[in-house]
Amino acid sequence: MTNAPSTQATDPAASAGPSTLVMSETAVELEAELELQAAAVQHTTNIPSSDGIEIGPRRRMRAARVDDQFNILGAAAAGLAIAVLLFGWFGPLSGYVGFVIVAFIAFIGFYALLVSLKSDWQEVKDRVMSVVLSSAGVLLFGALVFVVAYTLVRGQEALPHLNFFTDSMELAGPLDGLELGGIVHAILGTLMQITMALIVTVPLGILTALFLNEVGGKFARFVRTISDAMTALPSIVAGLFVYSAIIVLITHQRSGFAASMAITVMMLPIVIRASDIVLRLVAGNLREAAYALGSTRWRTVWHVVLPTARPGLATAVILGTARGIGETSPVLLTSGVTAVVNLNPFEGPMISLPLQVFDFVKSPEPNMIARGFGAAAVLILLVLALFAIARLIGGKGPGDLSRAQQQRVVAASGRDLKRITVAADRRFQLEAELAASPDSSSPTVPPLDPRTKETSS
């Protein structure tokens, strides 16, 4: 606070200086301006200097107050108590789901009551809705975690058996124990089908996305509309389509190839859509810089757009793969169920993991159901692994580099700068020498000598 007056005194003078110069065309205006200045000096906003004043940690605006926390805890306890009372003493209600629903409704009611003791109606609404929104999130993500965890836990019965990963179901009947038979045929089938699907999907999907973004035009908008519509194509319809187009017309038998084509139809729009978004995020000034340097459209795409978007494109492909791996019904229609390893994609049924799960749990035998959960656990772990890889690669936007990458880029461009300037200087020197040598006797002073020093230092 000690030097606050000095800032107050100097600030208006400094800021008024240029404005008086501009405004002082006539004497009247000058006078008015001076009056205004005088007024400004008197009523100017006093901004105290922050020197010597300790600034504490930033205040958290959204932090819950103590009585809010008590309100939540109290309401939760009361809701639980009501539910226990209703379910334990008065008999018409039973079941866990009903218990949770009753407890939640009672909790919301008590919470509203507690908040309304201290606040007005608007605030009660705000608090209650915040709790409701949060519980929607908790419910959804709880369901997600529960679905995944339930499968993994029930899969533990089959997973510890090593033969589960090395055998097929060729010699194992429904009544055999878990020591016999496995899902290697389904794992191999899934891998082959998804590989074949990726061979078609990746080039086609990324090229279509490039068409949407880099070529553009009326037809590109139409393609975008169509590929958006394809994302909602029911998987069973994709299966029917491949059945009628490929199996009936060309191959005349169910095969892994047909299944992979059906998976392609399902994956393609996902890959197109995700790549389209990623390519659109590539900064326009990068493209413009490439065009300004005289590169052609193709060179811009190959050297600027695709490298920038590479992590995002990888994510798009992996997300599409995760979806494609889980498709069941197209494989059911186009490839069918088998119990043996089939490595020929063009002949005979080739089962995939989700279809194997579906086939296992149709049986009433507990061992088969355990196998079904085991296969589902393998499938989920596969999807989770793909998802983790996708996040690892593409967690960042295009052109968003890590620290090490940034340093590398800076070093590389420094080297480029040196190379370019040194080469240019050398050429300039040579030209200067050539120009100077016939008529001048002192060619040792090149015209660009200081610049060389500057860039090399």
């Binding site: 079941g95 009903g98 608007q122 609404k125 705000d126 809705m129 915040s130 929104l133 929607a136 959804l140 997600l144 529960f146 679905v147 339930y150 499968t151 029930r154 086609l204 279509t208 070529v215 908008r221 393609v223 590929s227 958006d228 519509a229 909602a232 029911p234 998987s235 069973i236 319809v237 994709a238 029917l240 389509f241 009628s244 187009a245 009936v248 393609l268 859509r273 052609t296 459209r297 193709w298 997300l319 791996i325 889980g326 069941t328 019904s329 229609l333 989700p354 799960v357 579906f358 749990v361 159901i369 959960f373 589902a376 499938l379 989920i380 999807v383 989770l384 793909l386 998802f387 996040r391």
Partner: protein, 356 residues
């Protein structure tokens, strides 16, 4: 285009020479006609035209695949539709062998399951989308977005497993309770053929209600991501104005975010509806198929178009297959219409960007 590319090279060369100042005397504004006008049409390089045509053909192939889906289904469905005619939409039974088949019951089942799924999914998706876009901040926000994406990637067969082996047993008491106390609403009553109310658990298994809950959980991620995106585009100025006028956060949401995101809510709901109508394997695992219209959604037995196809494709003759193709075609057209409508609603609600 070919004419200009033929003409342009000789024209393109000379002004370039001017620009470098080799013949400055010639560039005289008073005599513009002394030399031919410079063409501004650039000649694409070979790599460019190759890239352009390859990209164009990739786009064309994508469109052709989609068209082929419709064309092949229509061709194959022609036989059956020719026999059944308009009755295809109103016949409940499904026996192509006796030429008596239609999709009234399966379509009804599909729609009931989808409607129940919407009742489960829309509140959840709306709440989660608002939670992510308005309440959560920083790390939590990005984690939740990732979780929603992950949920979209969980295979439907896993949801089906969960629905059959866990949810079914645990939701039956709720279904029994609803039918006992709200049985006076026609949808919720569970009666046998004589109109007697049923209460034993076996009457409540494999119902449209259970299938609807599972399908609802499966479509939540789609809806959430569309809605969240729409909400996050609500203009910051209006938000701050609402806060500056003393509104609470919920007040700001109702007065700014929800009106601006209305298109996203409707579009997201419809996109999810399209998904729910087409869901096959989870529904097939849960329901016990019947071929009559069942208004009692809590009672055992329902059907859906996709489950019908998965159920009957193996045992079908070629005419039976044609009938299944016809059912698939109807499903395809319905989802297509819903999806196009949804896309246009979402696109119109956005400012500027065409999609996403």
């Amino acid at each position: 285009m070919p004419i200009s590319s033929l003409v342009s090279p000789p024209l393109g060369d000379s002004p370039l020479g001017d620009a470098f100042g080799t013949e400055p005397a010639d560039v005289d504004p008073s005599s513009p006609d002394s030399r031919p006008r410079r063409s501004l049409v650039s000649r694409p390089s070979i790599s460019d035209s190759v890239f352009r045509s390859v990209a164009f053909s990739a786009g064309t192939i994508t469109v052709l695949i989609m068209l082929a889906v419709g064309v092949f289904l229509s061709l194959r469905a022609g036989d059956a539709l020719g026999v059944a005619g308009f009755n295809f939409l109103f016949e409940q039974d499904w026996s192509p062998e006796t030429k008596k088949f239609g999709i009234a019951s399966v379509l009804f089942g599909t729609i009931t399951i989808a409607v129940i799924a919407m009742c489960v999914a829309v509140p959840l998706a709306l709440g989660t989308a608002l939670l992510i876009s308005e309440v959560a901040q920083g790390r939590l926000k990005s984690t939740l977005v990732t979780l929603v994406d992950l949920m979209a990637a969980v295979p439907s067969v896993v949801f089906g497993l969960w629905g059959v082996f866990f949810l079914q047993a645990n939701v039956i008491p709720v279904a029994t309770w609803i039918s006992t106390y709200f049985g006076w609403i026609p949808f919720f009553s569970v009666t046998d053929a004589t109109g007697q109310a049923l209460t034993e658990a076996s009457a409540f298994t494999s119902s449209a209600f259970i299938a609807g809950i599972v399908v609802g959980l499966m479509v939540v991620p789609t809806q959430t991501s569309v809605m969240r995106e729409a909400f996050s585009q609500a203009p910051i100025g209006e938000r701050e104005a609402a806060f500056a006028l003393g509104s609470t956060r919920w007040g700001m949401i109702t007065s700014v975010v929800l009106p601006f995101g209305r298109g996203g809510i409707i579009g997201g709901t419809m996109l999810g509806l399209g998904r729910a109508l087409g869901e096959t394997i989870a529904v097939y695992m849960i329901i016990s198929p019947i071929f009559t219209i069942n208004w009692e959604v809590l009672k055992t037995g329902t059907n859906s178009v996709s489950a019908l196809i998965a159920l009957r494709y193996g045992e079908s003759s070629s005419f039976g297959l044609s009938a299944l193709m016809a059912a698939g075609l109807v499903l395809f057209l319905i989802t297509l219409v819903i999806n196009f409508t949804a896309s246009s609603i979402v696109a119109r609600s956005r400012s500027g960007a065409e999609s996403d």
